[in-house]
C-alpha cells in the first residue's frame, strides 16, 4: 500500500458586515422581503455604475492586518464574465490581477503556519429561488461586499483544514468584519483537495469541493475525498480534475462539473473603477479602530487581571461573552476581584449560555441571554455577604428560569443571609446537644469534625447562614468558651 500526502487549499467567501453594499448605496441587510434592498447598480439596469464603498475596504483591511499580510498600496478591480440569472450585470466585479492583500499567514495550535495567498474584494450575487416550474430572483444579496480568502495548499489533513477555517472564522467575527453566519451564507468555504505519494514534490490533480455549508460537513467531505482519491489511484485510475459537491446523507462527495466544462471567465480590468489606493494613513486609522483580537484579549486578561491562561483563553474566545465579562467586571470592581468574576462567568454564565443553545437548537448565539445588571447584583450581594456563594447559584438559576430580577428572588424566597449571631448560636447549641459524642471527639483532638458541624448548621438553615459567623460561633461553642 502506497502512502500518500494530503494537500489541501481553502477558499473562503466571507460577507462584509458593512451597512451598505460594496458598489452602491443599497442597505446590506438580511431578512427583508425580496428585492427590497436594490437599486439600478446592483440589479444591472442600463447605464448604472459602481462606486467603491470605502467602509468595505476598511473592514477587509482588518483581516489583512490580523493575518500579517502584505497590503498593496495600489490594487485594481476586474470583471469576471459569466451568464447566470442571479448575476445581473453578466459579470462579477472582483480583484483578479492585483488583490489588495497577499501573502498573509495564520498559526495552528501545533505551531504550523498556513500561508494565505491572497485576500480579494468582490461582490456577492443575488439568489435564485426555484418554486415548482418557476425560478424567482431576489437581488437583496446582489452587490453585498465579499472578501475571498485563498490559502496556499499548506494544509495536510481534514483536521487542519477545520482548524484553519475556525481560526479565520474567529478572526472575522471578533474583528467585526463579518457576521460569519454560515447558515445565512455569510461565511462559505470551498476546499481544493489532492493527494500525492508521500514526499513527492509533484502535486496530484486537485478536486474542488464546493457548496458545503458547515464545518462538520466540510471535514467529512474532505475526509471522504482523501480516501476516495487514494482508492482511485490504487485502482490505477487517474484523478479527474473536477468540482464535487457533498451529499450529507450518504457522507460522500459527488461529481458536479469536470474541467472540460469549466467556464472561461474572460477576466479584464474593470473600466468603471479607478485603481484602489491604500495609504499608510488609511492603514493606521484601521489599526486604531480595530476591535481586539482573541489572543490579544487573552493576554490582557492575564496581564491586567492576573487570570490563569485557561480562564483568559476561554473568556477571550467568544467575542460577545468577553464583552459581557468586561462589562460585568467593570460594574463590580473593585469590590469583587477579577478571579471571582471569572469563576462566576465560566461556571454560571456559560452554563446559562449552553442551556440557551440547547433550547434554541443552535450554536449561533450572539449575546449572553442574562441581563448584565442582574449578574452584577448577584456578585455584589454575594460579596457583601447578603447571600452565600451556594445561594448565589440558586438565585441565578431561578432568576434565569423565571426571567426575574434576582433582588426580588432574594427577598421573596428569604434568601437573605442569616447573619444574626444570636440566632446562629441558638442553632449551634441545639446541634451540639444533639451530637454530644461528636463534640467530645472534637474536643479530644478530632478537628476534622469541624466541617461536620458546619454542614449541620447549613442543613438546618437551608444554606442561609453566613459561613463566617458560623465559624466564629462554632469554634467558641465547641471549645466551651
Amino acid at each position: 500500500m502506497i502512502e500518500y500526502d494530503t494537500v489541501i487549499g481553502i477558499e473562503i467567501h466571507c460577507q462584509l458586515a458593512s451597512q451598505k453594499k460594496i458598489f452602491c448605496q443599497s442597505e446590506n441587510a438580511f431578512g427583508n422581503s425580496p428585492n427590497y434592498h436594490i437599486d439600478p447598480t446592483c440589479t444591472g439596469l442600463p447605464g448604472a455604475l459602481p462606486v467603491l464603498n470605502p467602509k468595505c475596504v476598511s473592514l477587509a483591511l482588518r483581516l489583512a492586518l490580523a493575518t500579517d499580510s502584505a497590503i498593496a498600496p495600489r490594487s485594481s478591480f476586474d470583471r469576471k464574465n459569466y451568464f447566470y440569472p442571479d448575476n445581473p450585470k453578466g459579470y462579477q466585479i472582483t480583484q483578479f490581477r492585483t488583490p489588495f492583500c497577499s501573502e498573509g499567514k495564520i498559526t495552528l495550535k501545533s505551531g504550523k503556519k498556513i500561508r494565505i495567498q491572497r485576500i480579494q474584494l468582490e461582490e456577492d450575487a443575488g439568489k435564485s429561488i426555484h418554486v415548482g416550474d418557476a425560478s424567482l430572483l431576489d437581488y437583496n444579496r446582489s452587490g453585498v461586499g465579499l472578501i475571498e480568502i485563498v490559502s496556499h495548499p499548506d494544509i495536510s489533513s481534514p483536521e487542519e483544514a477545520i482548524e484553519y477555517l475556525k481560526i479565520i472564522h474567529n478572526l472575522v467575527v471578533h474583528l467585526e468584519i463579518s457576521d460569519g453566519n454560515m447558515e445565512q451564507g455569510n461565511f462559505r468555504a470551498d476546499a481544493n483537495v489532492s493527494i500525492k505519494p508521500k514526499g513527492s514534490p509533484i502535486l496530484g490533480n486537485r478536486v474542488e469541493i464546493k457548496n458545503v455549508n458547515s464545518f462538520k460537513y466540510l471535514e467529512k467531505a474532505v475526509q471522504y475525498e482523501v480516501q476516495r482519491q487514494a482508492r482511485v489511484l490504487s485502482e490505477g485510475q487517474p484523478i479527474v480534475q473536477e468540482t464535487r459537491g457533498f451529499d450529507s446523507d450518504k457522507n460522500e462527495t459527488f461529481s458536479q462539473r469536470t474541467k472540460e466544462d469549466a467556464q472561461d471567465y474572460r477576466y479584464f480590468p474593470e473600466p468603471d473603477l479607478p485603481d484602489l489606493l491604500i495609504s499608510e494613513e488609511w492603514i493606521s486609522s484601521v489599526k486604531e479602530s480595530m476591535p481586539e483580537l482573541p489572543q490579544i484579549r487573552s493576554l490582557r486578561y492575564q496581564d491586567k487581571y492576573d487570570l490563569p491562561v485557561y480562564d483568559a483563553d476561554l473568556i477571550a474566545s467568544w467575542k460577545e461573552g468577553s464583552q459581557y465579562f468586561d462589562n460585568l467586571l467593570s460594574r463590580v470592581s473593585p469590590q469583587v476581584t477579577p478571579k471571582i468574576v471569572s469563576n462566576f462567568y465560566m461556571a454560571e454564565i456559560l452554563k446559562i449560555v449552553k442551556i440557551s443553545q440547547e433550547n434554541k437548537g443552535t450554536q449561533e448565539i450572539t449575546e449572553v441571554p442574562y441581563p448584565l445588571d442582574w449578574a452584577a447584583t448577584i456578585l455584589l450581594e454575594t460579596q457583601k455577604g447578603k447571600i452565600t456563594g451556594r445561594l448565589a447559584k440558586e438565585v441565578l438559576d431561578l432568576s434565569f428560569e423565571k426571567n426575574q430580577d434576582p433582588k426580588i428572588i432574594i427577598q421573596e424566597k428569604g434568601f437573605t443571609v442569616l447573619d444574626d449571631p444570636q440566632a446562629i448560636e441558638k442553632v449551634i447549641i441545639e446541634i451540639t446537644l444533639k451530637h454530644s459524642s461528636e463534640v467530645k471527639a472534637y474536643q479530644e483532638g478530632k478537628e476534622k469534625l469541624f466541617g461536620f458541624f458546619v454542614g449541620q448548621v447549613m442543613k438546618v438553615t437551608a444554606g442561609k447562614a453566613d459561613p463566617k459567623v458560623v465559624n466564629d460561633i462554632l469554634k467558641k461553642v465547641l471549645l466551651g468558651k
Partner: protein, 488 residues
C-alpha cells in the same frame, strides 16, 4: 426673429415665461412635420414638457438658471426617467428609463427642458446611423445621404433646430463625425469630464456624453452645466469645467500631420482644410508639422478594446429582468441564446463576438493586453507632441457624408471612417469638430475640422475654437437646413 441660441432663449423666457408654451408647441409642430423626412427623433414627450413648463413658470429667479427654458434632445442611450432608453435596439423595445442620468439631472437643475430622444446606431455601434431599429437618419444637407453616427439623430435634431443643444455619446467619434456630416459643432470632452452615470455603456473606458450645438458659446454654456464631478461615477475628474479660457491666436501653435491625410482623404476635405490653415496663419497662429506614428494602429486598437468592453457591458441584456425575452425557451441557456440572437442587430452581435473572442483564454494577451499597450504608447506619443504645440489639427472624417445604403456592408470602410476621431478616445483627451465655413464645392456638403487639446484642457480648447469662430472660420449654415435655427 427668435433664434435657438441658448443665451437668447434663456433671456427671452426668463423675462417672459409665458412665451414658453407657444414656443414648445411650435417645436413639436416642426418635429411632427419634418421628422418623417429625417427620422432623427424617436420619441417626444409633449405632456411631460407641458408639466415641466408649468413647473419652470413658478420659479422666482429664472435669470439665475443658465438653461432656463432651453430645449434639449438626448440620444436614446441616455437615461431620463420615463423616457425611452431603447438604444435603437429590439432588445430594449419599450424600455423606459428607471432613473435620471447625472447629465440629465444637471441640465434640468439648470432649467433645461428635455423634449425627446434621438435616433442612433444600435447601442452606439456604427458610423452612419443606419444600424437602427428605427431606420436610418437622413442628412439635412442631402436626404439621400447618411447623417453619420452613431449619434446621427442628435446631430440632425440639432442641425434642424428641434433643440438648442442635443446630447450624444462619443466612444470613437460618434459625436464629432455626425457633427462634421451635419455642419454643426460636436464636442468630446476629456474622459471623465461629464458623468457617464445613466449613459448605457458601450466601451466604458472610451465613452463620453458629448454635446452638439450650433455655436461655441452654447458649447461653453452646456459644458459648465454637465462638466461636473459626480460621486456616482468614479471615473469623473475631480474638478469642474471652469468656462472657456481667453485665447490670443498669435500665441497659439497648432500641430498638423499632412502626410496622414495625403492618402485616403477626400480631395475636397484636404483643400478646405488647407484653406483654413492659411486663414489661421493670417490670424497669427503658428502651424507646425508633427508626427504621431502610432496613430496608424489606432483603428485596430480601438475595435479590440471597444468590442471587448462592449461584450461585457451588453451581457446584462439577457432577457431575464427587462427588455426582449424569447418566451418559448426550455432552459435558461436557450432563453439567453434566443433572446440575444433575436434581440441584438447584426453589427452589435459582430462586436460582441469579436470582443468575446479577444478576451478569451489564450487570446487576451495577444489582443486586449496588446491593445492596452498600444494605447499607453499612443498616450506618451501625444503627450510629447504638447511640448511643441498647443493643439493638433486633423480632419474629422476622411470622407464626405456617403449615400444611405452605399457602405452598409463595407465594414472596413465604416471602421476607417473613425480614423481621425478614435485617438482622442483612446487617450482620453478632449476634441472638437467645427463646421468649416466652406463646404464641398461640388455638393455644398459640410466639412468638419477637428482639434485635439491636451488632457484636461477643455477650457483652453473651447476658448481656441471660440476665437476662430469669432474670426468667421466656422459656421457652414444654409438657410434651408437651419431654417428653424433662425426662423421660429
Amino acid at each position: 426673429m427668435n433664434s435657438m441660441k441658448i443665451s437668447q432663449i434663456q433671456k427671452m423666457f426668463s423675462e417672459n415665461p409665458d412665451l414658453m408654451t407657444g414656443f414648445y408647441e411650435n417645436i413639436f409642430k416642426n418635429i411632427e412635420s419634418q421628422n418623417p423626412e429625417y427620422n432623427s427623433i424617436t420619441h417626444v414627450y409633449p405632456d411631460i414638457v407641458k408639466k415641466r413648463i408649468e413647473e419652470l413658470s413658478q420659479i422666482k429667479n429664472p435669470q439665475d438658471y443658465p438653461l432656463y427654458g432651453v430645449p434639449i434632445v438626448i440620444k436614446e442611450n441616455i437615461q431620463k426617467k420615463n423616457y425611452s432608453v431603447q438604444c435603437a435596439s429590439k432588445i430594449l423595445e419599450g424600455y423606459l428609463g428607471q432613473y435620471d442620468s447625472t447629465a440629465v439631472s444637471s441640465l434640468e437643475k439648470s432649467g433645461a427642458i428635455i423634449i425627446g430622444t434621438a435616433n442612433m446606431d444600435e447601442f452606439a455601434m456604427g458610423s452612419s446611423n443606419e444600424y437602427s431599429i428605427h431606420g436610418p437618419v437622413h442628412n439635412p444637407f442631402d436626404k439621400k445621404r447618411v447623417s453619420g453616427g452613431s449619434s446621427g439623430g442628435s446631430a440632425v435634431s440639432c442641425a434642424l433646430g428641434f433643440a438648442s443643444v442635443t446630447l450624444g455619446s462619443d466612444t470613437g467619434g460618434s459625436v464629432r463625425q455626425p457633427a462634421a456630416f451635419c455642419g454643426i459643432y460636436g464636442y468630446k470632452p476629456t474622459y471623465g469630464r461629464v458623468s457617464r452615470y445613466g449613459l448605457v455603456a458601450y466601451g466604458s473606458s472610451l465613452d463620453q456624453i458629448s454635446p452638439f450645438t450650433t455655436s461655441v458659446d452654447d458649447l461653453d454654456t452646456v459644458m459648465k452645466v454637465i462638466g461636473q464631478t459626480d460621486p456616482k461615477d468614479a471615473t469623473t475628474l475631480l474638478h469642474n469645467y471652469q468656462g472657456k479660457k481667453a485665447c490670443d491666436l498669435a500665441q497659439i501653435k497648432v500641430g498638423i500631420m499632412p502626410s496622414l491625410w495625403s492618402k485616403g482623404v477626400d480631395k475636397s476635405i484636404v483643400e478646405s482644410i488647407n484653406k483654413t490653415i492659411e486663414q489661421m496663419k493670417k490670424l497669427g497662429v503658428t502651424i507646425k508639422n508633427i508626427d504621431i506614428p502610432t496613430i496608424h494602429k489606432c483603428i485596430s486598437t480601438y475595435y479590440i478594446i471597444a468590442s471587448a468592453e462592449a461584450s461585457s457591458n451588453l451581457a446584462r441584456f439577457d432577457g431575464v429582468r427587462y427588455g426582449y425575452r424569447e418566451e418559448n425557451s426550455q432552459s435558461i441557456q436557450e432563453l439567453y441564446t434566443k433572446s440575444r440572437s433575436k434581440g441584438f442587430g447584426k453589427e452589435v452581435k459582430k462586436r460582441i463576438m469579436l470582443g468575446t473572442f479577444t478576451l478569451s483564454q489564450g487570446h487576451y494577451d495577444a489582443f486586449y493586453e496588446k491593445g492596452q499597450q498600444v494605447r499607453n504608447y499612443l498616450k506618451k506619443e501625444i503627450a510629447k507632441a504638447w511640448d511643441d504645440v498647443d493643439f493638433i489639427l486633423l480632419p474629422t472624417t476622411p470622407t464626405l457624408p456617403f449615400s444611405i445604403g452605399e457602405k452598409c456592408e463595407d465594414t472596413l470602410f465604416m471602421y476607417l471612417n473613425d480614423l481621425f476621431t478614435v485617438p482622442a478616445n483612446l487617450t482620453g483627451i478632449p476634441a472638437i469638430s467645427c463646421p468649416m465655413i466652406e463646404g464641398d464645392k461640388e455638393t455644398d456638403l459640410p466639412i468638419g475640422l477637428q482639434f485635439y487639446a491636451p488632457y484636461n484642457e477643455d477650457e483652453k480648447l473651447i476658448g481656441f475654437a471660440h476665437a476662430l469662430e469669432q474670426k468667421q472660420l466656422f459656421g457652414h449654415h444654409r438657410s434651408d437646413v437651419f431654417m428653424n435655427q433662425g426662423g421660429l
